[in-house]
């Protein structure tokens, strides 16, 4: 009986999903709420795809059973949902001697040379390479913060996968791309984690509140050189990015506005993990910003920026492009800006209107958005029903190879979206991600344990272990060394190649290892549970479960024929005991269709 009801449900869903339903043309650009009569499984799937990372048919059915208004509310107003997730488990590789960290290796070793101590390490009074331990320590922290940041990436990805508040994580991802901050610049995973938690705490509240908090966030301050923005010598980096990237967009302010705003932010700094204001470094003189004059501080400048209609339009359009579609007409942009102002810059009610609108369910919106690498990866795992992000293949390597490494956006502008996610090369990488998920590599090397070839660490370690002297052991193996860059390593006080080896050894001793299990899939059970009895039904079930747009009849038949040929029969009952690999193969084919990139 149970099987039967599942089967009929599955068959019904397949029928509706495989046929493209055109929505009325007047839905496009309309903020009118979608009537309950138009609510169905496909539209619920679309909502979950966009407001979260997609889900299993059961999760979609749960939303489909509500009214559209209730379904949207359940996703947007998530604070009441009990969502116990473990906090990030710090490896404990930090110690106070490392803060403040040196801006460069020469800065660290020069300080040690001048004062006899640097980064909490004293220099050796006699003997060879007196500063070796300082150089070791500098590189140690660089390795540590990289490795620990990758663990934060895993921690966050796991949240995205299992959270009961998918919109929360989706918004954190949005703000991370918006207030793009990367560990490569910040060089302190603790600040990156703190920022990530800030973005989560204020994900769907007031934009003003979030903007002020981010402007006083140590990772952001470090990232945009705020520490050197002081009275009499303002550094424009921070003020420029606030106007250009965080609020208004280019063309809505002058260079003079930036210089004046930079003065208002002087003295904003951090100490350790806390924001501090240095009053003696703050310029409290008269400034003129965007036509307003006064003895402004940074918060007042933020309020001046927020009062400009262009700011609401810039933020609203960016949210809309992230959640709905890339093409925004100038009229729509104005309309969205007004909506955000009407909602007093509160993100949750703004999104509620957007997700309820007929526009969100129009043909221009549904199945037209190219998933980002992180969305692609997480939604694939969610639809596979996984409860843990696989350790093989490595999540960070995967997403980086597709162009989106968490906690390391390419630059302050964050990630470009839409078509720019796709190149011929990247499309193949996306398909190969699926292959490596269904058929995990048998020669996997954990990147958080085995030293990267680029640093030349392993040969040095091997030679030192065989008793070779350091100078010989660290001589590059290259036959022909003509390049200048190889000569940078020379210094009598320490050896950077030796430091590189020491740093890696010490870092992997401290930083916890990422668990390495491949995805344990059970596609056989998946199609069994759906009540599929034929190859065609299994293929239809997978198409329904994973694709947001219908495929043509011929492709559908060809995939079914492939499965039937692999199984030697169309009868799943007969093939039940051996169908797993064949199902995985057709899943790879389905998820390699160009259409799978759409959500």
């Amino acid at each position: 009986m149970r099987i039967l009801s599942k089967f009929s449900l599955g068959a019904l869903i397949v029928l509706t999903s495989l046929i493209a339903h055109a929505a009325p043309a007047e839905w496009q650009d309309s903020f009118e709420p979608l009537p309950s009569s138009e609510w169905n499984h496909d539209r619920a799937a679309h909502l979950l795809e966009r407001a979260g990372f997609g889900g299993t048919p059961a999760e979609v059915s749960r939303l489909a059973a509500m009214s559209p208004k209730q379904a949207v509310r359940s996703l947007v107003h998530y604070r009441a949902i009990h969502n116990p997730l473990p906090p990030f488990e710090d490896s404990g590789a930090f110690d106070p001697g490392l803060d403040p960290f040196a801006p460069s290796r020469p800065a660290a070793t020069d300080l040690a040379k001048a004062t006899g101590e640097s980064l909490g390490v004293k220099t050796k009074p006699a003997g060879n390479r007196k500063l070796q331990q300082v150089a070791d320590r500098f590189l140690y922290w660089k390795r540590v913060t990289k490795l620990e940041t990758e663990r934060i990436g895993y921690w966050w990805a796991n949240r995205m996968l299992v959270t009961k508040r998918p919109l929360e994580e989706k918004m954190v991802l949005f703000w991370h791309g918006h207030f793009a901050t990367g560990d490569e610049k910040v060089q302190d995973y603790r600040k990156m984690l703190k920022q990530n938690e800030l973005l989560r705490a204020k994900a769907t509240g007031s934009f003003r509140d979030l903007l002020i908090s981010v402007s006083q966030d140590p990772a952001m301050l470090a990232s945009l050189d705020a520490g050197v923005n002081i009275k009499g010598a303002p550094n424009e980096n921070f003020a420029r990015e606030i106007m250009e990237l965080f609020t208004m967009g280019v063309g809505n302010y002058s260079e003079k506005d930036i210089q004046e705003a930079a003065r208002a932010f002087t003295g904003w700094n951090y100490k350790g993990l806390e924001y501090v204001l240095n009053p003696q470094q703050h310029d409290d003189g008269l400034k003129t910003v965007l036509g307003n004059s006064g003895n402004f501080d940074g918060v007042q400048v933020i309020d001046i920026i927020l009062a400009k209609p262009v700011t609401s339009e810039y933020i609203a359009e960016k949210l809309y492009r992230y959640f709905v579609r890339e093409d925004v007409t100038p009229a729509m942009r104005v309309k969205l800006g007004k909506l955000l102002r009407d909602k007093k810059f509160e993100i949750a009610p703004f999104l509620e209107t957007v997700f309820e609108s007929r526009d969100f369910y129009s043909d221009a919106s549904v199945g037209t958005r190219i998933k980002s690498p992180v969305e692609l990866t997480i939604s694939t795992y969610r639809k596979l029903g996984l409860v843990e992000v696989p350790g093989i293949p490595d999540f960070n390597v995967l997403t980086e190879s597709m162009g989106q490494k968490l906690l390391n956006p390419p630059n302050v502008a964050g990630w470009a979206s839409g078509k720019s996610w796709i190149t011929p090369g990247l499309l193949l990488v996306r398909g190969n991600f699926v292959y490596d998920t269904v058929f995990p590599p048998v020669n996997f090397i954990a990147p958080d344990r085995v030293a990267d070839d680029r640093y030349g660490i392993v040969p040095v370690a091997d030679k030192v272990a065989m008793g070779m002297d350091v100078t010989t052991a660290t001589k590059p193996d290259y036959k022909e060394v003509t390049s200048m860059s190889m000569q940078n390593d020379r210094d009598e006080d320490f050896n950077t190649r030796l430091a590189s080896y020491h740093a890696w050894r010490k870092a992997i001793e401290k930083v916890k290892a990422i668990p390495r299990m491949p995805a344990r899939l059970d596609l056989s059970q998946m199609v069994r549970d759906a009540g599929c009895v034929s190859a065609q039904q299994a293929v239809d079930q997978l198409l329904m479960r994973f694709l947001s747009v219908p495929v043509d009849a011929q492709t559908r038949r060809k995939i079914s024929a492939l499965l039937e040929s692999d199984l030697g029969t169309a009868d799943l009952k007969h093939a039940d005991s051996y169908m797993e690999d064949a199902l995985r193969n057709v899943l790879h084919v389905i998820l390699s269709l160009p259409a799978y990139q759409l959500g």
Binding site: A107, D225, E236, W421, P424, G425, L427, P594
Partner: protein, 399 residues
């Protein structure tokens, strides 16, 4: 000026190639490889993040330079002097040699009116060749469409994580990849027909049509690129960061029909606001090593006469140093045109260090599109006026 003869030769060649039909998996015949050797190649190298031109090519006899940069200015005894006015950053042995060998044209004072100090805005202007305009396609994309109306497969190549706006083209699908080893689709044998030939869809979903188009290009290009990479071995040292120029060399070495290449020193690397000298010197040594290595490699495979490299950055940096031993966003900068056929030397007017604009920036003297025009006309043999939407006076960089 038009080089009619060059143009005609190439056109004929392209027709011939088109008739042969280059398709995926088809091994290149020796005849095709030989024919494509007659083609001229342009490699554009982007130094993202706004490279500090004044500390790249140091005016070491100009006292004003040291007044503006008392702490980060590079002392005369440190720089690699190329003449009685200029010296390269100490890490740039490769550039020094290229200049002294007469293979490098240095174009001074490049910029454009109403300079944007935003990295992304300014880079978009350089990518499109249309400052303060809304051009949809990239300048190299438009060049490809103009000089290759036959749409030769793999004509336009961009090696990067993401496609650059510079190669965005109306008619060409640029080959964009990062790692040649990964530029291959995995899949079991019985699935290949479905994986390699997905059905094309029609209908109003523009994103879907775009994906179909890219999928077709990926299938065709990946085998050629991988074969080129597998068949490439070089004794030449490109230094620590090759800037993907070794991949360009591999494709040239394989005789592919690619003529326009775009690579970049990625991730806004040159944005040196703070404590810049050590980092900047290192970045420049990487760039200089890689470019010098590439030129050496071209010499090795006998293609040095066919290749020009253009090096640029979206703008320069502030003339004066800032309080954090770095430099803020600036304006005019050098462009470098490098190649064996290039007539080395200084071009354009040098901006004055004493006559700065109100923001303390160099006043540009050379519209950067003059350099684009010089390459389009002098190297690629095509008119530049329609392509660039204006009549830009060319420099005689060749012959």
């Amino acid at each position: 000026m038009e080089h009619a003869h060059t143009n005609a030769t190439r056109r004929d060649l392209l027709k011939a190639l088109g008739a042969l039909g280059i398709t995926a998996g088809l091994p290149l015949s020796p005849a095709m490889a030989a024919a494509s050797k007659d083609k001229r190649i342009l490699v554009v190298v982007e130094m993202s993040g706004a490279n500090d031109g004044l500390n790249t090519l140091v005016p070491y006899t100009d006292d004003e330079y040291y007044r503006l940069r008392p702490r980060i200015g590079l002392r005369p005894d440190k720089v690699r002097k190329i003449d009685d006015r200029y010296g390269f950053n100490p890490g740039m042995l490769g550039f020094e040699q290229l200049y002294k060998d007469g293979k490098m044209a240095i174009v001074h004072g490049c910029g454009y009116p109403q300079q944007s100090l935003s990295h992304f805005q300014s880079m978009a202007y350089w990518h499109t060749g249309v400052p303060n305009g809304g051009e949809r396609f990239g300048w190299l994309g438009r060049v490809a469409d103009a000089i290759d109306p036959q749409l030769t497969p793999n004509f336009l190549v961009n090696i990067d994580e993401r496609q650059s706006l510079a190669v965005h083209s109306e008619h060409h699908v640029p080959v964009v990849f990062d790692d040649p080893e990964r530029f291959a689709r995995k899949g079991l044998r019985q699935s290949r027909p479905l994986l390699d030939n997905p059905a094309l869809t029609d209908g109003p979903n523009a994103s879907r049509q775009y994906l179909d188009k890219v999928a077709a290009s990926a299938r065709e290009a990946s085998q050629l690129v991988r074969a080129a990479w597998d068949g490439y071995k070089t004794p030449v040292d490109y230094g620590i960061r090759s800037l993907d120029l070794n991949k360009v060399a591999a494709m040239i070495n394989a005789g592919l029909s690619s003529q326009l290449f775009y690579v970049s020193f990625r991730h806004n690397a040159f944005d040196t606001h703070v404590q810049q000298n050590e980092l900047h010197g290192r970045l420049l040594s990487y760039a200089s090593d890689a470019i010098a290595g590439f030129m050496k490699d071209m010499e090795r495979i006998g293609r040095a006469n066919d290749v020009t490299v253009l090096v640029f950055s979206e703008f320069g940096r502030r003339a004066a140093e800032n309080t954090s031993l770095g430099t803020d966003h600036g304006t005019a900068n050098h462009m470098y045109v490098i190649g064996k056929p290039v007539k080395g030397g200084h071009y354009g007017e040098v901006p004055s260090l004493t006559d700065l604009d109100e923001g303390g920036n160099l006043k540009f003297t050379t519209d950067f599109r003059r350099v684009y025009a010089s390459l389009i006309e002098g190297w690629l043999g095509h008119g530049s006026k329609a392509l660039l939407g204006g009549d830009f006076k060319t420099f005689a960089l060749y012959g």
